[in-house]
Symmetry: C2
């Protein structure tokens, strides 16, 4: 067993010790707070263009991919189900930025496409990522650290593996 693995094992052993119910011992709590904080940070910027954060995510997909896309396809990207997406997409439809129509090839599906207004909105959205970084008050170093942390989250929660290092390959094969 190599030194790295030993260190992880020692850390893992320590997990159950002490008071596992202390708030500052919770692994998930900072993730929960970060999730709330992020939506809060986007809100004032997105409200200027009439979007909520999950609506913005839908638009990112429609702008980047071959729209129209089915509700299910959008949901699999965002890890959201029709119970969340259907009312959200209806609000976006009544705002005039997306179209909803049954797929002729499979009447179970509903295809979501962009309207002219929805396509035009992209121009207004282009400044959002830059503005967010400005609003966040984070230094380039903070952002870099956040990005590194996010690569981990992406691997663990989105099964979106970055190219594995030799060390990780080693660990997997054992």
């Amino acid at each position: 067993m190599d030194k790295e693995t030993l260190e992880v094992d020692q850390w893992f052993e320590g997990l159950a010790k002490g008071n596992p119910l202390a708030l500052d011992r919770q692994i998930c709590f900072p993730v929960y707070v970060a999730g709330n904080s992020l939506v809060r940070a986007y809100r004032p910027l997105l409200s200027e263009i009439g979007l909520t954060y999950p609506q913005y995510l839908v638009m990112l997909i429609l702008w980047s991919e071959e729209a129209p896309l089915s509700v299910g396809t959008i949901g699999s990207h965002l890890m959201l189900d029709s119970g969340t997406l259907t009312p959200l997409l209806k609000r976006m439809e009544s705002a005039g930025i997306v179209e909803r129509r049954r797929d002729q090839a499979d009447e179970r599906r509903v295809l979501i496409g962009l309207t002219a207004k929805g396509r035009a909105l992209r121009k207004d959205a282009e400044s959002i990522p830059g503005k967010l970084i400005g609003c966040s008050g984070m230094s380039p170093t903070d952002l870099h650290d956040l990005h590194q942390a996010v690569i981990t989250l992406r691997r663990l929660f989105l099964n979106d593996a970055p190219p594995a290092t030799a060390a990780e390959e080693e660990a997997l094969s054992e």
Copy 2:
């Protein structure tokens, strides 16, 4: 300028290049997904003891700290306001696990205390952290990586220095 700083600066320069509106370029999106995933993972475990995830967080605070605590104090720990907490605490009150009463010393405040039932619930909650790790299907290595990522999130979103690990606590008390 040292090598580390130069690397961060180069990464920061690259941020604006390409398509900043691509979903897989979003720094915040994995945090959003992780937040949703975490609440989803806790739900079946917590429903066994009649709690939601934010209610569980309130209980963690009340179990660890000198209860009773004001709504505002709880809110500052969880970064939630009275608009979220008041109805949540009322539901917990009607479930019989907390008490709500005006602070005699300052009638603006409402103090939240544990009932006997609320204190007893702690025993049932003790197995939750361990069970969650089991349910998550994460390896010790995954958990360690997550923990490292979370230390960053805690610093950035909770302005919090990393707390001592259980192993370190152990060492200190000896």
